[in-house]
């Protein structure tokens, strides 16, 4: 059962990654060129999922949208991990007032919704993929930092850390050689869950027009475009919605599956 979750997550994520990679080299039609004569075609052939209000093939746009989604996810979660993990490890290792300062700062960022932050950044710098990535990344930092801190505290209490210190390893040596490898699994789980949230946030931002601007296709701005034709061709809203739902589901399943797989206490006895 648990294994099934992990496998389902892996399959969904692999599907999205493959789609994104394929879209770099090939899409059925040009995902950007407007073809007025082919507006709002229903699903059929050669446009498998139909065309949108500009006469662009929806399948092609979905495929390129997967790419945008992945890039935003990778960069924003990468940003969160690169900043959050060192901060969390520092807080966990130092303890005392430094711990307090870092974690209360994380609480403050946590209290600020990602959407609000994105709106703020978009207002100042203009809406773009970069502002969306930064906003989502910054909003994800606290969760990552908390997990890293908790993991660090746990590892620091272990005898092997004391043993390493006895052997003459410096504090930073212990952090790099012993703490990081031991907390890597929980960070991976948190990153996977963060990825799902990032996909959702990116879609919301593009839907609101605060993320990647047109003509670059994203699932969020496709949803927004489709909304205009909700009464003419409601099926159009289904495709990007389905893509978002499946991607979020995939990364959540992957995260949950990894957690169960890596946690020996939850592992079923043979």
């Amino acid at each position: 059962m648990k294994r099934a979750q992990l496998v389902a997550g892996l399959v969904l994520v692999a599907l999205i990654v493959i789609t994104a990679v394929v879209s770099v080299f090939w899409t059925p039609f040009d995902p950007i060129r407007v073809v007025p004569s082919e507006r709002l075609l229903p699903p059929g052939w050669p446009h498998v999922l139909g065309t949108d209000g500009f006469g662009i093939d929806i399948l092609s746009r979905l495929m390129v949208g997967a790419r945008t989604t992945l890039v935003v996810g990778i960069i924003s979660v990468g940003l969160a991990v690169l900043i959050g993990v060192p901060l969390g490890m520092l807080a966990g290792q130092a303890g005392g007032w430094l711990d307090e300062v870092v974690m209360r700062a994380a609480d403050v960022v946590y209290a600020l919704p990602a959407l609000l932050l994105a709106i703020l950044l978009a207002a100042v710098f203009g809406a773009s993929t970069v502002t969306a990535m930064v906003a989502i990344g910054v909003a994800t930092i606290p969760a990552v930092a908390r997990v890293a801190r908790a993991g660090t505290k746990q590892v620091m209490a272990a005898d092997f850390v004391l043993a390493a210190r006895v052997a003459g390893t410096s504090r930073w040596g212990v952090a790099g050689r012993h703490v990081l490898p031991n907390i890597a699994p929980v960070i991976g789980v948190q990153a996977s869950v963060g990825f799902a949230l990032a996909i959702l946030a990116e879609a919301a931002l593009s839907y609101l027009g605060l993320g990647t601007p047109r003509p670059t296709p994203t699932w969020g701005n496709m949803l927004r475009d489709a909304q205009q034709y909700l009464f003419v061709m409601p099926i159009q809203t289904v495709w990007p919605g389905l893509a978002i739902a499946l991607a979020v589901l995939g990364f959540n399943l992957l995260g949950d599956g990894l957690r169960d797989y890596l946690d020996p206490r939850l592992r079923e006895l043979p």
């Binding site: 092997f160 004391l162 043993a163 390493a164 052997a167 390893t169 050689r177 012993h178």
Partner: protein, 278 residues
């Protein structure tokens, strides 16, 4: 001059009663000193104080001098250089004293690479050689294995190798055989004895087991509630224990002299220790 001089050591955590109080002892080069006491008697805290590894909330007074270095006043950076080189420690729990994410050989090699100027390749050879010396029958395989793939005895030998690889002058053993079963315990102790004799290292051996201490050590301290209540050679302690607590320990250690059907002796511990003893 003595290798280790501890004078009036007193360690307290927060506002509680000191965990270690008025502890003074010396260890000469190559000498083996046993420390006996029950859980919470301050044995381990004393050992950590010598290593300079007490938690940050510990308040320390008195002095610890190791080979001329004043440990209590030494900056962390200099202390890290002494640890693993001049003084090392063998831990009680072989299950948790090795990093689960790292092959055992690499962990042993790390101690060597931190202090000695050696190539990685020759470090590996040295590690495997030493793993063989501490009695592991298949040292190359053990070096490549992760801790969870090894038995408790194998792990404890690897930990022993980790402590001995830089030929330290002082090895602190914190109940190194408590977590092992009796036969493995005897083997590990024999290897420890052999290794200490071969390298001429001094040893501070912490245990609650009189029998184990008498196998390894020359002199013994008995600790109770953070204080040293008795000291002497192993023979003295066994033949003429002075403090009532030590007497209880010695009686309990001579179980073979008890007739069947007789009540087993117990040790009068913390609660009924005579007040004001020190």
């Amino acid at each position: 001059m003595s290798l280790l001089v501890v004078r009036d050591l007193r360690v307290r955590f927060g506002r509680r009663r000191p965990a270690v109080d008025q502890v003074s002892f010396t260890i000469d080069g190559g000498e083996r000193l046993g420390v006996i006491g029950e859980s919470g008697s301050g044995k381990t805290v004393t050992a950590l104080a010598v290593m300079g590894l007490l938690a940050e909330n510990a308040v320390v007074s008195g002095s610890v001098e190791l080979a001329g270095h004043a440990i209590t006043a030494l900056p962390e950076r200099d202390m890290a250089r002494l640890r693993g080189d001049l003084v090392t420690m063998v831990f009680q729990e072989p299950m948790t004293a090795l990093d689960p994410t790292m092959p055992v050989g690499r962990q042993v090699a790390e101690t060597l690479l931190l202090h000695a100027d050696v190539e990685r390749g020759s470090a590996r050879a040295r590690v495997i050689e030493l793993l063989g010396e501490v009695g592991l029958s298949d040292p190359a395989r053990v070096a490549a294995a992760f801790p969870h793939q090894l038995s408790g005895g194998q792990r404890q030998r690897a930990i022993l190798a980790m402590a001995l690889i830089n030929a330290p002058q002082l090895v602190i053993c914190d109940e190194p055989t408590t977590a092992l079963d009796v036969t493995v315990q005897a083997q590990v102790l024999a290897k420890l004895d052999q290794a200490l004799t071969a390298s001429g290292a001094a040893c501070l051996f912490i245990s609650h087991d009189l029998a184990v201490v008498s196998q390894i050590c020359d002199r013994v301290l008995v600790m109770l509630e953070g204080r040293i209540v008795e000291r002497g050679t192993v023979a003295e302690l066994f033949s003429a224990p002075q403090h009532p607590y030590t007497r209880g320990l010695v009686e309990a250690a001579s179980l073979d002299r008890i007739e069947p059907g007789q009540r087993l002796p117990t040790v009068a511990g913390l609660l009924d220790a005579p007040a004001g003893e020190s």
